[in-house]
Structure formats: C-alpha cells, structure tokens
Symmetry: C2
Subunit: 223 residues, 2 copies
DNA sequence: ATTTAATTGTTTGTATACAATAAGTCAATA
DNA sequence: TATTGACTTATTGTATACAAACAATTAAAT
C-alpha cells in the first residue's frame, strides 16, 4: 500500500498539519494514481486514528495534551505488562535481540547530529526495535497490535527531535536497566522500569508542548 | 456502512465460519451492491482483526485457544485499569448510568429463555453497556478504542450462549461488586473485582472450547 | 440590509470496466 | 505415474464514469 505510506509519512513529518483536510482528488493527482487506492489508505489511517472523519471527508488528527496524557497512560500500562511478561517468558534468543537492538541504539545516538532528520529516523527506528523485541519476548502476539496503536508515531517522532544528546544517553541507560530486569527474570522490576521510562517520555512531550503553546501565545500578543 | 454490518453479523452468528474465504464478487451479488462497498467493509474488518489477509483475498479468522488466552489477558489488563480509574474519576452521573445498565441486565437475564437468539442479543448488548459505562467513567477516551479490539464479539457472543441462568445471575452479582467498589472510590478493589470477572469469562470460554474439541475428536473416531 | 430560495459547483459514494496476478487445469515428457 | 510447463479461468486491484450529497454563492423578496 503505497498511498498509505505516502500520507502517513506526510502526517508524521508534519507536512500535513493537524486539522488539515485531506481531499481525495488532490491527493490522487499529487500521486498520479486514481482515487480508489487513496480511499483505501484513508480508511486505514482512520482505523489507526491518525485522521478523523468529518461530515465530508477526513482531516489530520490533532492530539491535545489530554489525548497525549491518556494515550501515554495506556502505553505505560501495555508496555509495562509486556516487560513483565518478557521477564517471565524470555528465551536466550530474545535476550540477544534486545541486546543487539541496544547496541544499535548506542551507535545511532553517538553518530547523531542534532536536527539531522536522517540520523533521527535511525534513532527512532532502532528505539522501536528494542521495544518490539520486548513485546516479542512477552510471547503475547496480540500486544503488538495494541502497542502499535498507542505509539502515536507523529508524537514520538517529534519527541525524539526534542531530545538532546545527554537525554538520549540517559534513555539508553534506562533501556539497559529494563534489559537487566528481564535477563534476571524480575517481572515487577521490569514493569516498573518500563513505567518510568515511558512516563519520562510523556513528560518530555508535555513539557515541549507547553513551550510551543507559550511561543504561540507570545506571537498572539505580538500582533 | 451496511455491508460491514452484514458481514460482521454473519461472522458473529457463525454463518461465516472460521477459515471460510470471503470472495468479493459473491458477497456483492448476495447483497445486490457493487464490489466497492464490500471492499471497504472487508478492509475495516481486517483492521479489527475479524478477518485475516490471504495471498489473495481474506478469510474469517480462526481464534485458537492461545489467541483467546492472550486476548483475554489484555482485556483483563485494560478493563481492570478502566475500573480502577473509574473508581477515581467517576461522577454521580456515571454511577447512575452503571446502575441503570445493571438493572437492564437483571431484567434481560430474568426474561431470557435459553438458546433464544433474540434475548441473548439483548443480554450481550446490555452487558456491554455496563462495561462501557465503566470505560466512560474512567475518563480516558482512548481506552474504548483498545477494549473494543480486545472484546472479540464472536467469542463473547458464543460465551453467553453457553451460560446457564445461574451463571448469568452470578455475573450480575460480580457487576454489583464492581459497582460498589467504584461507588466507594476503591480503585484496587475495583480492579481486582474486574480482573476476577473477566478471568471467569475467559475460563468459561476455554472450558467450552475444550468440550467442542472433544466432540470433534469423537466424530473423527466415528468415521 | 438581511434573510430565504434556488441554482451552481465541488467532493464524496457507488457502480462498472479494465488490467494484473494468482490459481487451477490439462497435456506432454521423463 | 509423477512432474513440469503452457494455457485457461477466476479473483483481486486500479481506473474511470456516474449518481448523490453537501457547500457555497447569487438573486429575490421582505
């Protein structure tokens, strides 16, 4: 599904901004295909919650601070559960995958130049790889489905954009703590470490949204 | 979306059995519409996980015992969380909704004749109303999305089919316990009561699947 | 000048036609 | 007899055409 990727990427990178209406015809023209595959892509994105239905057509979803808080609460619940289950069910091969993901994460961080989109994409992707390795180790094949819905990629992507190199290294350390707990088969410790990890991510996002709001307020005053 | 309802109902009531392939053309002919809305309905059902993609087309999903175990584990996690949050955030109006849902539940149970599809549908619907009232009281608007995916309607529907009137009354009592905990603002008690409620549902389903399997094994021997 | 009616235009929803691809069948050969 | 290959059929994926619904704009009337 190519149209799907196209639209999703545009939303993630902020090219299609929240609230923007998505007209099928114009998207079709832009991609040189017919409306049919565009419609299917839009229905898909609707199911994922990235666009919301209007009376006529759809628009890019805007995530409020409450949305983000609530979504992160659920992500904490789900990923915490995944981590605790991983601590119970993990195999040696699972551990290898998590470790290698963490090594890649370390490399991606050290090779990262701030505000470089490409290296940022790498970091986001490798970070996801670590989290997915934990989900795989939990041996509950259905968790993935839910976590994928609770990891709102547009938000997560921006959150990494806002990390400085020290904070990135810090998150690597937390990864190692989680990995240790899973390796030592300590479900509760794994869950708590994961909770903490994701709550930090949430607060990071919320703090920056607050700042952005303030900038906008200043602009309003300036008019 | 009418085609969606049609296909979903057929799956829920077992008219389209697990593993059965869904051909667009034949569905379209059966409903006297074109393939276009059929396709959209199928994509929707795919996103919900009720049908699974084949190399070509889709087939009705078969839920294994492991699937059901894993899905119920997640449902326990999510609904337990919802109950605990409801105990914190519930308003008086939330309580009224839960109570009225429970009264309707009681009526539906007492008016139910075993194996009567219509009264069964009522029970399932009213039960859902109670659970949704709790979700609403939790004040996390995103929980609903996830719980709707973890409440696999075909399975839940059958599970109610297998309940006798005593078991139905018993589940009503558990509802009352959950409601009490929420009313008294006891999050942990609410969560635990909900956990127990859903785990009972899970075991009920698994027990009956076991029986069905045994019946099939007997048939095999009979050949 | 403001509100209502009507008409025009734009965009989505559905049907149909065509293209592409997977599956099934039959024949030929080892 | 089994297996491979060409060919036929069936089914999905995409494009286009048409119908329906909504929005917007203009004209008329109070």
């Amino acid at each position: 599904m190519d149209a799907y990727e196209y639209i999703k990427d545009a939303i993630i990178e902020g090219k299609f901004v929240p609230g923007m209406r998505l007209a099928e015809e114009s998207l079709a023209k832009k991609m040189n295909i017919s409306r049919t595959p565009i419609r299917e892509a839009i229905r898909q994105l609707e199911a994922e919650g990235l666009v919301i239905p209007l009376k006529r057509g759809v628009s890019v979803r805007h995530f409020t601070k409450d949305d983000i808080r609530q979504i992160y609460d659920l992500r904490t619940l789900l990923e915490g559960y995944a981590a605790s289950q991983a601590a119970i069910h993990r195999t040696e091969s699972d551990l290898l995958k998590m470790e290698s993901a963490n090594i890649l994460y370390e490399e991606a961080i050290s090779g990262h130049v701030e505000s470089n989109m490409e290296s940022l994409k790498d970091i986001v992707q490798v970070n996801q790889k670590f989290h997915e390795a934990i989900v795989a180790a939990s041996k509950n094949e259905h968790i993935h489905f839910h976590i994928s819905k609770v990891v709102v990629v547009p938000i997560v992507f921006r959150s990494f954009y806002w990390y400085n190199s020290f904070q990135l290294k810090q998150s690597l350390e937390v990864h190692k703590t989680i990995l240790d707990a899973i390796k030592n088969r300590e479900p509760e410790r794994a869950r708590i470490a994961m909770h903490e990890h994701i709550y930090q991510g949430r607060d990071h996002v919320l703090k920056h949204l607050e700042q952005i709001k303030n900038i906008h307020l200043l602009k309003e005053e300036g008019k």
